[in-house]
Symmetry: D2
Subunit: 391 residues, 4 copies
């Protein structure tokens, strides 16, 4: 097998992780656990895994957790873990959206670093208040816009920053799925239920669930902010209460124009997150379903296939890679990269040193706020006939 310079990873320590949410029937909790485990930097030791105590207990058993460290709720968990000598170093919050903010606040108050799933909150006001608290606390607050953990996404960002495309002109981003093409929420599918329920998801459906990922990806790679948007959201499945498709026009501060499309009713699409960026000097193209490839088209030259860990791959990408080019890494590895980077940040704090290069690329609470701001603007713009709104 081809590999250059691979070596045994040196561990300084394994950090202790707690989790809020992610019990039986949850999806993203299991992903967080694999992600935390993959690079061996974290050990799950405590949890408030469900709002239903019995389900929480059983979920903890499933994971072979110490029953003494299974808690009924986030508040209690924060308080008690804070007091333990072997208390958790960080908590992962993976509940439905509406429960993110209260849980996060409890841990911040207890002085525990926070890893929070996206969207950060279900209202902008709540997001801003949380961000203030986080800032004042001085703690690490990561938001798992996980697609930023893909090596070639980081390379794309670096290439744009280094001017490989020249001044940006056009950004086309989309995230298309089809899992809600029918009224799945009436079938008892738990994921579909809460994601289409305004009380638990917030004011947006597809916009919050996946549009916010597309938005984050666009700003991350473009190294720029969306200044204004005009959105047309729509509900295609009769009786659904939240949008299942949205189209948006985007204006970036730096002058680029763009489009964003998110859909959960696009038959045949699985997790079609794709981005294309065009500047004065070239173009870039990346898609999540084949994440090991980045296509770079310098204007007037043949397009180049940059492959993860292969020829033309950048140090920032290689640092987020585990295995040789041609052996595909995927979604879990990209997600794991955030956990590994967060571990590095926490460890650096503990050891009183600067974190390793690139480990600070992980989205923060500020990115989380921006995501919520995007959701609110999109929902309002759509309600006003696609009027341009500033973010």
């Amino acid at each position: 097998m081809a590999i250059e310079g691979s070596t045994t990873q040196k561990l300084n320590r394994r950090l202790r992780l707690g989790m809020v949410g992610g019990g039986r029937g949850a999806f993203i909790g299991a992903v967080h656990r694999i992600a935390a485990r993959l690079d061996d930097r974290w050990q799950l030791v405590a949890g408030a895994l469900s709002s239903d105590p019995e389900r929480g207990r059983l979920s903890g058993e499933d994971l072979l957790l110490d029953p003494a460290r299974l808690y009924a709720d986030a508040a209690g968990m924060a308080k008690r873990e804070k007091r333990r000598k072997d208390g958790i170093d960080a908590v992962a919050i993976v509940t439905p959206n509406h429960a993110h903010a209260p849980a996060a606040k409890a841990f911040l108050k207890a002085g525990i670093h926070v890893i929070c799933d996206k969207p950060l909150t279900t209202s902008l006001r709540e997001a801003e208040s949380l961000a203030k608290l986080a800032k004042d606390s001085g703690l690490i607050f990561a938001v798992t816009h996980n697609y930023t953990g893909y090596p070639l996404v980081r390379q794309a960002r670096a290439m744009v920053a280094e001017g490989a495309l020249g001044k940006l002109r056009v950004v086309q981003v989309e995230y298309a799925q089809d899992w809600l093409a029918t009224k799945l929420e009436e079938s008892g599918q738990k994921q579909a239920e809460w994601r289409t329920d305004p009380a638990r998801s917030g004011p947006a459906g597809s916009i919050g669930d996946i549009g916010s990922h597309a938005f984050n990806l666009a700003e991350f790679i473009a190294n720029d902010e969306v200044e204004a948007l005009a959105a047309e959201a729509h509900v295609f499945v009769e009786g659904r209460r939240l949008d299942d498709n949205a189209h948006m026009l985007l204006r970036f501060r730096g002058g680029a124009r763009g489009m964003l499309w998110c859909s959960q009713v696009a038959a045949g699409q699985e997790n079609g997150l794709r981005i294309r960026l065009y500047g004065e000097k070239g173009g870039l193209e990346w898609q999540q379903e084949n994440p090991n490839l980045l296509i770079h088209s310098p204007l007037g030259e043949p397009p180049r296939l940059i492959r993860r860990n292969g020829a033309g791959a950048d140090p920032v990408a290689n640092a987020a890679s585990r295995i040789p080019a041609g052996h595909p890494e995927g979604y879990l590895e990209g997600f794991a990269q955030l956990y590994t980077d967060i571990a590095e940040q926490v460890t650096a704090r503990i050891e009183g040193r600067e974190p390793a290069p690139f480990s600070t690329l992980v989205p923060t609470v500020a990115d989380g706020v921006r995501g919520v701001r995007f959701i609110e603007a999109a929902v309002r713009s759509s309600a006003r006939g696609a009027r341009w709104l500033e973010l």
Copy 2:
């Protein structure tokens, strides 16, 4: 070589074609000539090939045309060809946009069928007046929205019409190029010159040149009309007078929502015309750069690769095909299909019979009007901050 049931094509007659425009230095004229020739149904016999008489003469010589049938202008050509016993059966008008209408009118008045390049005219008023004249004349008036000649585009249209996708929900269409990413019009390149000049191109740049193709393709396949659009056009190359990029939101009469993107500054894109349609029961995907493939995704089933003339190809597609599956047909064949269909229409008139099935799929003057309407609406919407405008 694989082929089933291929046979020598039976010709009834070859029709006589005249051409206006298309002299030395032109591009699309040469394409029309190959297209007319490919299936052997037309013979080019007369022309007013350039507004510059000397260039017109030389161009006629280049093509081995009879000098007696080289004319200084469309009006004279129409008059004189009308009088000949062996006069042309139809004329192809392939001048810059502003000259389409006067030429077309001259031939309609002379009772000669018209094949006109797109966009039909540079103003809606002129388009409507031309359409009226065409209608009153009873003559055949084809507009070369040539992408409708691709076999699998026709199949896509048929599948939508037959309900393979169920009720349409989303239409994503785009046409991206990069040939105007720099200020090519200042280099002496003739194509770039007139296409960026409002006097010859009309009020739109990329919107008229390629956006109109995307629009036509979307309506053709969707079997539906765009009811309203909101557009954001932009000029990225400093000093250029017409848009080189545009983004649009679309609402279809039947309830579908969509986006249209056209760009001539998208580095790395050549002729990236792509369309995706999603309905209640499935999705379809086609792109011009690989036109022999249509991807059909029935909801909840594996996507299927339908290949030109291959398994799953429809009679309407096979009728527009020349060679076996796996031997690619391309742009010229798709363009030729329009000429072959028009020949069939003309021949059927001459022979007093119904034209063969599918030959009437060729876009008409009504489609041409619609294209101009689209251009005007997009330009106006953009001028008003992407306000929704009805078409």
Copy 3:
């Protein structure tokens, strides 16, 4: 539409073409006619279109040919066309394989240039005798290994010749179809009948029909000859008399090693002609089903996508191109390129000048002999348990 420097093609003259074979029910004859017509350098004026006189007459009518120039057989046609002042400049021989040699000889003797379909003959002895006659005659003798007409195939050859890959090491070539996966020859399909009949096809089935194309392509691009091969041919469809699948090991004179696979029973394959070449300094990859793309992988650098007429395309490729990058050209255009190049060769003879650069890339009778030599060696090697045989 993107295009640089397009212009009206200047014709010196149209040449007169005759055809032997290609009547009703034939396949490749129709392809030759479109190919001859596409670039407007040839006019079909005479034919001996079928061995069945009535079918020949009807086929001539179908094509609107002058009845006086419809002949019962090749010998008579050659004699009479030779005597006409407006006699044909060249003849295209598109009969089943066994009839190639007698027809070609008749025209060579009449001093008429020959364009012959492949394989040249059904035996090596006959091929060599024909080649000698052709050489002695001084006439142009083209063999339509048509894949050499694809622009990027020519570019691949040029790149290898110029050392872009360094010394060649490995050549992987294949041609896979599935149209004979069942016993189609018993269904009355004419193409299947003669292609599986030793009397008309010669000693090989898939090896002669498509393996010979793969072999020619490999030698053409590699700029090298296969020195020896070891073959394993097989009949999968019970009762078929000629191979429908073959695998071969190849040794090239220059030291490269390779494999050749041809199959007419590979379910899902249409015309899967693909080649990959690897040398000390890089690799190349091309496939017929997407012929507008050539992938070049310089060792240690990202692979590059070279697109027909696009960035990185070579003059030899652009000279064989009609339309801008991104507008696909296909099989018919590649085939047409041979006819256009032959027209240029014939015209240059008539005008007493050197033919234009690249027009002499068309395969000749020598390539035809080589193809027959390949077929015989493969059949013999397979009969001897894949023993290595020199070519």
Copy 4:
């Protein structure tokens, strides 16, 4: 995010794993560790990580292992772990090839289950003796032909077994890389050094390193054995002692014919493991670099894109999947699947029950023997001018 029925994984216990080899500078050891960790069924607790004691000690520190469970060699480790109450449940042997057999024997004798990297041994005699020992011991002996852990590889196997392709006719398999296109072994790269050294790798280079994977994959999916092969191995890089490229003809017991190509000098190829199978009723295509896609071409129907965990995916594939369709899983997940299946086998032994369905798909010592038999036959056939040899 799309997911159906995801749930917290229920753990019965975590098993204890030891490792031989895999210290600093090793590659595959790190992969085994991630694979073992990913699904949380194993905990690494002991190791003899290097033949160099100091390197072994440091490597153990790197991994935070208990110093008391770091051993100087496999033999000592086996003996002492056997005596511990909390001794390892299984050992992973990840040394260079020549050291596999002695280590494996030591653990078998100690009654400890074995997970061994491939190729099993460097000689057939040794392989057979080891297999006998394993069989007599009754212990679990897994060989990490890891590509069998990919979900869609398992689905391909199941589809062939269930007759989706009908009787198999053709198998095309290849594994192409380029990392040894230059004389990397002289650069100090440790991986290149031992893999090109007959003393440590055995009699074959590319054949043993990657050809054996291709061979295993072909037999695994075909549900059949290669009966005979004819091989042509070659050394392209001057001075190298083991083959860096090989071509083979294959005959399967069931009547299918095939080709195998392996190369480590194919410029531009990273880990190009690809397989295509064709039967009377259809074809299948899979490639490792995009492992989430399986193309199924039923004869006479459009090809279908089967995606991991998506529509058309089989229970055997879904059982080896972690996350929803469209979120790519990769090499590490495929490798992890073997560890998870082995954990299930071991756990079932401990619990006195049948292992879960599909968990016994993991290759065993018998597959390991077959791999060595393949290597020896290929090397011998090549030495005899590609003579057919039975396996």
